[in-house]
């Protein structure tokens, strides 16, 4: 958990990451609120808030009395959303830093090409 950003968002993001990476496949049961709170050493109300957000966005669904599960199609939807943000979150900062260091676009794409070959 890092400082400054709301913890419930970080809890939600971490579950999203596990869904995207496949370690929490669709249909899998998500750890209980108390287990999440204990694992992250956070207030259970905060963990609940993070999980509730994922239920509201359709990533998880609730089965009363049993627990929370990863919804069908959640992985594809999350990946689509992350792709939409990719430019703003990764490309823009990369270009800004490159400009600051005097790396021109040709050199930048060279660098990317070299990195890919390794």
């Amino acid at each position: 958990m890092d400082d400054g950003r709301p913890i419930f968002l970080q809890v939600a993001e971490q579950i999203e990451n596990e869904v995207i990476e496949g370690s929490m496949p669709e249909g899998a049961q998500v750890p209980s609120i108390n287990a999440l709170a204990a694992f992250h050493r956070i207030n259970p109300a905060t963990a609940l808030k993070g999980v509730t957000m994922l239920v509201d966005t359709g990533v998880l669904y609730k089965q009363r009395g049993i627990g929370m599960f990863v919804a069908a199609g959640a992985r594809e939807r999350l990946m689509a959303a992350r792709r939409d943000n990719f430019r703003a979150e990764y490309i823009r900062p990369l270009l800004n830093e490159a400009a600051k260091l005097g790396i021109n676009p040709v050199q930048l794409s060279d660098l990317i090409g070299k990195e890919l070959q390794q």
Partner: protein, 300 residues
């Protein structure tokens, strides 16, 4: 939301000193609260008032529905763990744990026994022979095992090492999840506990300075770093909580930025960094002339 504690216009004056100055607030039932503030801000006095250990000069206090003063029905459901609890001369640890159930309606002996093992506490040792850390462990055990619907921990872990403190946090969270109750945690180790807190009350010179959810407070401030002129330009007409500079670089902590303002700052080549709860409180309650004060908490 129901409230466990309701305080209105509470004032406590000691000869010439106003320790608690016309404060009004509520504590939300079943939440873990942080009661934070500097030394002498009035935290302990406030907790003494709420637990009937001091008489208010003026104002109203309602704890679990009635006044706590000389009220056994309320007090057996309230536990107050103080930094410097006194025990009878010749009391051994086991005597403390044996007498605790007389005072707390929800006392759990099983939980107390398991905590004694967790903290590795010598039951047959006299309390006055305990180390500072062990003495704190006794308080922590009583506070947790009391399972009181309203539990106050006033700087409970003086002398406890990092391992023991984390044991305390873990046991508190686990037991709180099983047996929800209202907890008030007063401490200077804000960074360590900030993730455990649902609500935060900050008291400064006897007054309530902040009263909000921990999440909301976390989002209230941001530090803007960049070239001196650019930072000052951006900070103009905004509420500045702290200001530092080194060479041509300036760093300014600003209260409350909208998402648009954040993008403007980034577009202007300024860097934004989050402000932890501890930094926020240091900035809000510390001396304002902290122009070049590089506090160590940033490094730690």
């Amino acid at each position: 939301m129901s409230t466990t504690v309701e305080v209105s216009h509470l004032t406590k004056r000691f000869r010439g000193v106003t320790a608690v100055d016309d404060v009004s607030f509520t504590l939300q039932e079943g939440a873990i609260h942080g009661l934070l503030g500097r030394n002498g801000a009035g935290k302990t006095t406030l907790m003494q008032l709420l637990t009937g250990q001091e008489f208010a000069t003026s104002g109203e206090i309602s704890v679990l529905g009635s006044s706590p003063v000389e009220n056994a029905a309320v007090l057996r459901n309230v536990c107050f763990i103080k930094e410097s609890q006194k025990y009878p001369e010749d009391f051994k640890v086991k005597h403390v744990l044996k007498s605790a159930p007389w005072f707390f309606a929800n006392w759990s002996q099983d939980f107390a026994d398991s905590l004694v093992k967790d903290f590795d506490l010598p039951l047959d040792r006299k309390v006055k022979k305990l180390s500072r850390g062990q003495l704190s462990a006794v308080g922590v055990i009583v506070g947790l095992a009391s399972r009181a619907p309203l539990t106050f921990f006033d700087e409970p872990y003086l002398g406890l090492d990092a391992v023991a403190r984390h044991t305390f946090y873990d046991r508190l969270l686990a037991d709180y999840a099983e047996h929800p109750r209202t907890v008030v945690l007063s401490t200077h180790l804000i960074d360590e506990v900030s993730n455990l807190l649902e609500r935060v009350l900050v008291i400064d010179r006897g007054r309530i300075l902040m009263d909000d959810t921990a999440d909301a407070l976390r989002a209230t401030a941001v530090t803007v770093v960049g070239q001196h002129a650019g930072v000052e330009e951006f900070a103009r007409n905004r509420e500045v909580l702290a200001r530092e500079s080194i060479g041509g670089i300036a760093s300014v902590t600003i209260a409350g930025l909208t998402d648009t303002e954040r993008s403007q700052a980034t577009a202007a080549g300024l860097e934004l960094s989050p402000v932890s709860l501890q930094q926020l409180i240091v900035r809000r309650t510390g001396p304002m002339d902290a122009t070049t004060e590089h506090t160590k908490e940033n490094v730690a």
